[in-house]
Symmetry: C2
Subunit: 493 residues, 2 copies
């Protein structure tokens, strides 16, 4: 039984298959009956809830408020911002009718042809259009600004090839939509949000990210500038993990949203939008997990500590339970989530394997001999190291260990990224290195043409133009034209 | 300015219009560009978030876990449970295509006729079908049961006549879907959830409710039995506030969900579902609010206390601010949400009116004279009573006042309900009394025919057959046939 739990593909054999199987094995999600849409199972959803709570608190601490806008967007709204519709709105779910009727020819129901909508409605792929259509009535004067609003919502993009969490037709996300009186203020908020995403990724997900700017080819449709955080998965591929878009006045112009500024002049409003999605579940899994299953950073683990009693009979269990009760209570008082698993229908070995599969950061095992010795076996999921330690001060030890695991996971991921990041100066070398996976720092002449050529020939894209680090001038590896700084190339999810 | 805030219809002039205007004035929600769909504005959403948090905690305390199922449901799923599709699935948003394309005849986009779905997808009006289609793979043995799952989601029903919060095409809700090994256990869970809803309504919303069972006519489509909580609004109309459905084995049979029971025999799974929605925002408003605006029970108020300084100059403000700072800190330490509104672009009179409109339960006002006297003016929103009290121990006084407001709102609503509830024994008297609004306790012979006749002739429906109170036998006011107990009739939202 315990072995069966771990019977799935190894990363080194097939990373992609390992991921797909792990999502199922760890009970995170599964495909639904609807093409490209997943069911997020309770354990997966519990991790997502933790992410939501942390992000929501971070947003609110900067003055953002939540609201809710309609799921369906009139088709005409999508066309208002020309680049937006061009880049975005084609592959989407279209509502054309509003009624079913009994099938006159037999069983079941059919679409009622008389209930055709005058204008089709689109299931939101993102909400800039409906929100800016609404803001028109909310914003009149500079006194109404800034407007700092976020929504937690489901969105839908009719993806051709889907993978659970990473790319699904329906997904869950938050989308922030801010309105400002000045370009500077809007730019500052755009940057503030990418910094919040980086903080969340690094300090909660324990996932190092590189902050940067997207090249024009990779920019959000309708944006003046897109900031991104890019993470490296264990297979060396990049995963875009959060984006923040400076929309300039594009949407304000498309929806005619003006305000009277302090100089008493009408002016178009300045906008930004920013989002993070259930894709982060995929990023979390692919950054830390191993061939035994999930590895969760303690700060996002729904269950941080599990205690498994090893006993022969009811009397033995009772003695262990008595010893464990105050430990559980003390851990809960510290805000540590803990489960004492005394279920008698599964053997300890099965429990161990199952909690490893689920990525519970710390496991304690306590048997009769431990009671005699005043000890307990403690295992950390990240390294699988076991140690027998004194029960004295066990709560302090656990708290410190959780911190240490959090730190260690980040350090390990960072070390991997550094090991898999190379500087390359010639296109020849680039073509060679890109096959090995990882990030490549190379010079690029800044043109979409060169980027497209590289993408067509190597499947690598510019992940971002990094915000941090000293710019080092050079020449484009493809065209030899001057380049101000190296950019990051990678193949990506 | 301050007067303008209160310039809206009075309840006694037109209750329905008062409601519509208040929703807008208090900045809770507004109509969107999409027919029948609303935008929930930040202040309205903040109240909904409070409701969500309380309910979510209550559910989890009973072992319920959250999950997420697809937005779109294949059309064929809806037809599986015969009564369900008959009663439910006709008026709904139908997705027929998955792509738009540039209009070949000009500007904009059109639906791509080549991207027609083989099977239409329905935006979920409720999720029993997709969820039971999924449970089939999750449930094999009695060891997999019970399955206690809830989802927070948006749903859509194409309503002909909509009113904000009360009846909108898209609304937000939670829907619980439990699976059990025995009929008894499922029935117990169905009742447990209606009790939780009643607890939430009475102890958080301060809204008294009557727990009962729906008559067959008013039962959920596909349910064996529907439990409901019914509240009375200030105009005497009933509002169904939460329902819990015992689904028997109907959905298990429709989706072929069986399990191996303890006797090693295959058996269909027993089901229940239960939901509460943003409709509760409407109930909250209509239960407590008055001609000055919203009145919010402290336990659901996003802002519980506001402090307004009354000052002549910067120096005066500074002195007040110094005095207020520790009070704010102490209140926050107690978990009381408080705002010190020292904004200088609005006059105190405007602030007072605005916070009254928004239903903030307690307002403090502090001027120079108060500083000299060590006093503060305190106003409670429910009664609008003002009092000048000592600053000494002000935190204790505020905490006690918040409790008192919570209790008082419930008592007031209960007194209204009692005053507007009458026992009636003849159909003549019934027809007279129903025009006055309120609940009518009357005898009914238990047949759908009699209920339909009463509804057709008086627009009143049976709100519920009460669970509590001593049953008093009698004879049906319409047919004279025997009746075991009085049931509750009312006109309803």
């Amino acid at each position: 039984m315990a072995k069966e739990l771990k019977n799935f593909t190894k990363r080194s054999d097939n990373y992609s298959q390992w991921y797909n199987e792990l999502v199922i094995k760890a009970d995170l999600a599964e495909q639904s009956a609807v093409r490209g849409c997943m069911v997020i199972k309770p354990y997966g959803y519990a991790i997502w809830e933790k992410m939501q709570r942390v992000l929501d608190d971070m947003f609110k601490a900067t003055g953002v408020q939540n609201a809710y806008f309609p799921l369906l967007i009139p088709k005409s709204f999508l066309c208002r911002e020309a680049e937006h519709v061009e880049g975005f709105a084609k592959e989407c779910a279209v509502v054309t009718h509003y009624r079913l009727k009994n099938d006159p020819d037999g069983k079941g129901v059919v679409v009622d042809p008389e209930a055709r909508l005058e204008e089709e409605l689109i299931v939101r792929p993102t909400s800039e259009t409906i929100i800016w259509g609404t803001y028109k009535n909310w914003i009149h004067s500079y006194r109404d600004l800034p407007l700092l609003i976020n929504q937690w919502a489901n969105v839908m993009r009719w993806e051709m090839r889907t993978r659970m969490f990473l790319r699904t037709s329906e997904f869950l996300w938050q989308e922030g939509h801010c309105a400002h009186a000045t370009a500077e203020e809007s730019e500052a908020r755009t940057v503030e949000m990418i910094n919040i995403y980086a903080d969340f990724a690094e300090n909660y997900m324990a996932m190092p990210v590189i902050k940067g700017v997207k090249s024009p080819n990779e920019r959000f449709a309708g944006a003046v500038n897109t900031y991104t955080i890019e993470a490296m998965m264990q297979d060396g591929k990049a995963l875009q993990s959060g984006t923040s878009h400076n929309l300039g006045q594009n949407f304000a112009k498309a929806f005619d949203v003006t305000f009277i500024n302090k100089e008493n002049q009408p002016e178009y409003v300045w906008a930004n939008s920013w989002g993070m999605s259930t894709r982060m579940m995929g990023a979390l899994i692919m950054t830390h997990s191993d061939d035994n299953g999930l590895v969760l950073p303690p700060r996002l683990a729904p269950l941080q500590v599990v205690i498994v009693p090893i006993y022969k009979d009811a009397e033995g269990l009772e003695k262990i339970s008595e010893k464990v009760a105050p430990i559980v209570e003390n851990l809960r008082k510290r805000g540590i989530s803990v489960k004492y698993d005394d279920a008698d229908n599964r053997r300890p070995g099965f429990k161990f394997a199952d909690y490893e599969l689920k990525g519970v950061p710390v496991r304690l095992a306590l048997g009769a001999r431990d009671l005699d010795n005043g000890t307990v076996e403690i295992m950390r999921r990240d390294t699988l190291e076991k140690e027998t330690v004194s029960l004295e001060g066990i709560e302090d030890r656990i708290a410190a260990l959780l911190d240490d695991i959090q730190t260690n996971l980040f350090a390990k991921a960072l070390a991997l990224r550094e090991a898999k990041t190379v500087k390359v100066d010639t296109y020849e070398e680039f073509k060679e290195k890109i096959e090995e996976g990882g990030f490549i720092l190379a010079h690029w002449d800044g043109t979409p043409e060169t980027e497209e050529k590289i993408k067509a020939e190597t499947k690598a894209t510019i992940r971002c133009i990094p915000l941090e680090g000293d710019p080092e001038p050079g020449v484009c590896m493809v065209t030899g034209k001057p380049s101000e700084r190296r950019v990051i190339f990678a193949r990506s999810y």
